[in-house]
């Protein structure tokens, strides 16, 4: 394609969602991306805003956005846009046959792999955590040879955290996979593939059935299939007559992989052209407007032209922002990011301090339209908007807002480029 209406750099959750929204509004959209996004290793759940700056739990994320600090991305989008964005996301999940649960104005408590709880907002139906609180009996199901999920620890912690009249028990499913020096360890992805087979399904049901009492909810690692649909969940639910709830868990993440597949399929259906392995190294800016971005590979540089550009390259982790000693910059549009000169100021002394990490909040500063603003206050390109993890002003890990910021800023940028305020 010689020229697109909107060109998006990055195919993480923010890039893909922006693409779906813009394509829905009739735009010709192209994505350039070098490597997959964080989604494939993340939990695939949409945290919007779980804690405020003081670490206090927020029951209604939309309300929590009122009075948020001025440089936070949510201060630029506002609660109204946030609501629209999350509703648009819910609608897409519905259309794609992988509907999410939850509502933008209410946080849910989701069990983690070790049996603690974390706040989140939108979740797949495999994480219907309200069923957990309604059940009288909780059955924690582990798998005997699978790494990364310790059913005994989860059981112990759930027993402590849930009300005393709930009966929490543990059961370990035998996988009976082949073992040997020449075979690798078993991961949640292997178990998810197994549960997609008839053999796995039968074996699971046969082993677990006897332990399911009336009004039981099963808590298990994320293993209910790798595809973005509820086939595995629904068939197990039916045969076992109980709820099943996947915990949020460690990478490589089954639930994130599902959402990643869903968003890709959604973008492709809308005619979005995705060019993979295309590393964007620079841009051509004339009179304060970006004309094209430049990719570089083993052969030659290529220029990709567009009317408007969305920067969705993520944070330091995936190369979206480059950190050097005492300096930080966004490499494609060459935006300087203001950082303290002494690097030890970047992080609080204790890594897990009960405070937001300064380092985590670094990113590209933007104005109220998500247009980038350099350290000296200048605006390098008026037809560029920045979304997702590339943005400054928030610590997703501390406040639990990662995918929420990504979706909401992506929506705002795409809608604005399509003429919607």
């Amino acid at each position: 394609m010689k020229k697109s209406d909107i060109l998006i750099i990055g195919n993480g959750i923010s890039g893909l969602f922006a693409a779906c929204i813009a394509a829905d509004m009739g735009k010709k959209v192209q994505i350039l991306s070098y490597g997959a996004g964080t989604l494939t290793i993340g939990g695939g759940i949409i945290d919007v805003l779980g804690y405020d700056d003081q670490g206090k739990f927020i029951a209604d994320p939309l309300k929590g956005m009122d009075g948020i600090s001025a440089n936070h991305p949510y201060a630029k989008t506002g609660a109204q846009t946030a609501k629209k964005a999350l509703e648009a996301f819910l609608k897409i999940t519905e259309e794609e046959g992988y509907p999410y649960l939850g509502s933008p104005d209410k946080n849910l408590w989701l069990p983690t792999a070790v049996g603690n709880f974390k706040p989140t907002c939108l979740v797949p139906r495999t994480m219907d955590t309200e069923a957990l609180f309604k059940a009288d009996n909780i059955l924690v199901v582990g798998f005997d040879t699978m790494k990364d999920f310790y059913a005994d620890m989860a059981t112990k912690n759930l027993r402590e955290r849930l009300s005393k009249n709930k009966n929490v028990e543990e059961f370990i499913v035998k996988l009976n996979f082949e073992y040997g020096r020449d075979l690798r360890d078993i991961s949640a992805m292997d178990v998810a593939r197994w549960l997609e087979t008839d053999e796995g399904h039968r074996s699971f049901v046969d082993q677990v059935k006897g332990h399911v009492k009336a009004n039981t909810a099963i808590v298990l690692p994320p293993v209910l299939g790798l595809e973005p649909n509820y086939k595995v969940l629904d068939s197990l639910k039916k045969e076992l007559s109980c709820a099943l709830i996947e915990v949020s868990s460690l990478p490589p993440a089954v639930t994130g992989t599902r959402l990643n597949k869903m968003l890709h399929s959604c973008a492709k259906k809308r005619g979005v052209q995705i060019i993979e392995k295309a590393r964007v190294v620079g841009s051509e800016i004339i009179d304060g407007k970006c004309q094209a971005v430049i990719t570089e590979g083993f052969d030659r540089q290529r220029k990709f032209y567009a009317e408007q550009f969305i920067l969705a390259t993520g944070g330091v982790y995936g190369g979206g922002i480059i950190a050097k000693i005492g300096a930080m910059s966004e490499p494609i549009f060459n935006i300087d990011i203001e950082v303290p000169k002494v690097q030890t100021d970047w992080s609080y002394k204790q890594l897990f301090a009960d405070k937001k990490q300064i380092f985590a909040q670094y990113g590209v500063s933007v104005d109220e339209n998500l247009t980038p603003v350099a350290a000296d206050g200048s605006k390098p390109a008026s037809n560029v908007k920045v979304v997702g993890r590339s943005l400054a002003g928030y610590d997703f890990c501390y406040e639990k807002s990662g995918n929420g910021v990504a979706l909401i800023t992506a929506y705002k940028a795409a809608a604005a480029f399509c003429g919607e305020a």
């Binding site: 490597g35 494939t40 690798r184 590393r279």
Partner: protein, 404 residues
């Protein structure tokens, strides 16, 4: 091993994010494979310290899906191939077929040089199978092997009368087109002539070496790379662009040579390399692509080869083919077909290859398409083998639409 400065092989770029594990099709198909992160960057670091003994390496098919998703630019598959090469310097080969499959050009030359050679070879292949000869050679009993053409592409090419044009390309046909499917090469010449391009070939080109690298014969590939590099550079110096119609050849010549070897001129000629359809898509961008198509009411399903996906050129076939009036074409978009060049022909890998490809086979069957479309020769064979639906090169679709 000489390391190219610009594309240095650096395992330390890995951040251990595990994204590659979620994408590797062989990891999904068998637990005999440890997965890209471990065999690639993690063990490479270890191998620098101690000599490693990792038979699991053999399972990496060099499909490069891991490279595609890695956000840190780790050349995972190439790290695996280098390690495989080292491993076989001190260990016996698992499969007797390795040598033959890696040096497919030798076989092609031999067979097409004999009068009626291809007929006997193709016959031999089926007779061989029924007597279990292939099995003894390490070839999977029920793998469908490529058949040989009675006349090579180079020989056919010499008989074609072309109209000279100022726009000139040299076509690196590769072994598969030369010995197995010469009609893809003649289709290229017809389609290019229609677009006012003159096509040259070079009889001194040798196999790109892709199957050698995948089979762990990097030293043999180096010999071929040295020959091809000098030739390709000289064509570019004379003002020619280079095109390939086999995505593995294209990737090898422009990327893997630069990763593995250090010959003068590689980066220079790579700047002028194009996939055959990408070249036409570029003409289209410049408003010079001929769209004088006849109707084609066929239903097609397109499969993008893994080795095309990592070239950062998108899907040029899905830009051009939908322009044919009446055409119904969709992209399969379900990942690797499993064959990875010659991987799926090996007796100990065939089952894995079929498992990897099963999603694609089902997708093709359920699409009710009349024909599959794919740029890679062995992918096409695997698509036919797995789904029963014949597959053709996009150049063939274009040639037909031009009524040629």
């Amino acid at each position: 091993m000489a390391i190219n400065k610009q594309h240095a092989i650096d395992p330390d770029k890995c951040t251990a994010c595990t994204i590659c594990i979620t994408a590797c099709p062989v990891t999904a198909a068998t637990r005999k494979f440890r997965g890209p992160k471990m065999t690639g960057p993690a063990l490479t670091r270890l191998r620098k310290l101690v000599s490693d003994d990792d038979p699991m390496l053999d399972y990496c098919s060099n499909c490069k899906t891991c490279d595609l998703v890695c956000p840190s630019g780790v050349p995972i598959s190439t790290l695996n191939m280098i390690a495989k090469n080292e491993y076989y310097k001190t260990h016996p080969r698992k499969s007797k077929a390795d040598d033959m499959l890696a040096h497919s050009e030798k076989m092609g030359k031999l067979i097409t040089a004999l009068p009626l050679g291809s007929t006997f070879a193709n016959l031999g292949m089926s007779v061989g199978k029924s007597f279990g000869v292939m099995g003894a050679m390490g070839i999977a009993q029920d793998a469908k092997m490529p058949s040989y053409a009675s006349e090579s592409f180079i020989s056919k090419f010499k008989k074609i009368k072309q109209t000279p044009y100022p726009r000139k390309v040299v076509f690196f046909s590769g072994c598969y087109i030369n010995y197995n499917q010469p009609e893809v090469g003649t289709d290229l010449v017809k389609v290019y002539q229609k677009n006012k391009i003159e096509v040259a070939i070079d009889e001194n080109f040798v196999c790109c070496g892709s199957p050698m690298v995948s089979g762990g014969y990097i030293d043999d590939a180096r010999v071929n790379a040295s020959k091809n590099t000098a030739l390709l550079k000289s064509w570019v110096d004379r003002g020619y662009d280079i095109v390939t119609a086999c995505t593995s050849c294209g990737l090898m010549l422009k990327q893997e040579y630069q990763e593995l070897f250090d010959f003068e001129g590689m980066a220079e000629y790579a700047a002028h390399m194009y996939d055959s359809i990408e070249y036409l898509a570029k003409l289209h961008d410049d408003g010079q692509f001929d769209t004088d198509f006849a109707n084609d009411n066929t239903k097609y399903i397109y499969h993008a080869p893994c080795h095309l996906k990592v070239q950062a050129i998108g899907r040029p076939s899905m830009e051009l083919l939908p322009m044919i009036p009446g055409i119904d074409i969709e992209e399969a978009d379900v990942g690797c077909c499993g064959i990875s060049g010659s991987y799926g022909f090996k007796a100990d890998k065939h089952e894995i290859a079929m498992k990897v490809g099963s999603k694609l086979f089902n997708r093709i069957k359920n699409s009710h398409a009349k024909l599959g479309v794919c740029e890679c020769g062995t992918c096409r064979l695997q698509m036919e083998n797995g789904s029963g639906v014949k597959a053709i090169h996009p150049l063939t679709v274009l040639r037909q639409a031009y009524g040629l």
